[in-house]
Subunit: 233 residues, 2 copies
């Protein structure tokens, strides 16, 4: 007997989850068809479908047409990271946000990005160096390249008041992006900028975004010592 509503899709999801956790259905085993489950729970197939679709999204079951639904053998451990706008992240900590534009220049595409910004190899990109502060202490150091082929309007922007990140989010929405996280030792420049000792381990995030096939921007964020990126599963 189920304790939860078996008529709501969330209730059905709970019951299915229970059976998986309690190994009523073993990992790798096939589970009953939607139609059978619908009959068992006394609801429409659509409702069972909704519950199963949700479990499939979280990776707990694998669904294939004709082959049916199976409990995943190695449930991938997925986590949804929410990457906040730095201003909001700082303000959520109850601190005062400020940023300062350290450099703004037109440069040829740096070698590191040749493979990515190939479309605009002949053209300069807009290079920005920004320092983000929380309560007047360095919080993160940002280096950014903006593809002027894709976002020519960026030429008119100084990015002194509103940050490039916020402007781009509103004016050049991306359709996909690559993201990577790493650790690096503070070099002389970085240590000076972030006000820490050289060699300190720093958390870095790199991101490249596209709209369709056209790259928009590349950002590298290096956070001040002690930064942690958190998430829940």
């Amino acid at each position: 007997m189920a304790l939860t509503d078996t008529n709501s899709w969330t209730g059905i999801r709970e019951e299915l989850l229970r059976r998986i956790h309690d190994r009523v259905w073993e990992p790798g085993a096939q589970i009953p068809h939607e139609a059978d489950l619908a009959e068992e729970f006394g609801c429409a197939r659509t409702t069972v479908n909704r519950a199963l679709r949700d479990l499939a999204e979280s990776g707990l079951v694998i669904r294939k047409r004709r082959a049916g639904t199976r409990v995943a053998l190695n449930p991938p451990q997925r986590a949804t990271l929410t990457i906040p706008i730095i201003r909001e992240e700082v303000e959520a900590l109850g601190k005062t946000y400020r940023h300062s534009l350290l450099e703004r220049a037109y440069q040829p595409v740096p070698p590191m990005l040749h493979g990515v910004f190939h479309a605009s190899l002949g053209e300069d990109v807009l290079y920005l160096k920004t320092l983000h502060f929380a309560d007047e202490r360095p919080y993160a150091f940002e280096e950014r390249h903006i593809n002027l082929d894709t976002v020519p309007e960026a030429r008119q922007r100084k990015f002194e008041v509103s940050s490039a990140n916020e402007w781009l989010v509103h004016n050049a929405p991306y359709s996909r992006g690559d993201l990577s996280f790493s650790a690096l030792n503070a070099n002389e420049d970085t240590a000076r900028i972030l006000d820490c000792t050289q060699g300190t381990a720093l958390f870095a995030m790199e991101r490249i975004t596209w709209t369709g096939d056209a790259p928009i921007t590349h950002v590298k964020l290096i956070f001040a010592p002690g930064y942690r990126m958190r998430s829940t599963i």
Copy 2:
């Protein structure tokens, strides 16, 4: 005129996305009701609902009963990280995986975890130190605490052959978890174990998982120098 099917929910999602990207609907603006859109596209409301629900999940629109649907002002940048089992990650690189159990001991709950493992304060936890190799080179160093209240069967396991991670995934599925990433400098021990020089910046991941309210395990993984965690948006 839409190029995509306006009768499939994905087609409708594309068209809605286009209107948001092209600022037909400005950030913050309210968009037409489901019923109106259904009429416009000549489909059932359910189908529009499916498309809008998908956009809401990715954070592009905000939906509220009675208040309607609005284009998000600051679309949060969400990324789904897939945290692989280390063996699979290494094997996907075309390298040979091996791991070695450095220590296995019963210990009191370490102070760091007092807030988390409170349920079992009187009891010992199982402490495991494991080194993961890729092609015989250190890949990641793992420290783990297992709550024996929640998973008493772990006492019988040596964890020499199959890793604790894989065993737990199959035998103590979790319902939720906290995850964090950070950067740290290699100390003397870590440097020796990972075969790098002291002070090197290392990428670290920490994870605590629960089943219901009972904590299952705490893991701290420190990766060898140069590790990058990648994802797409």
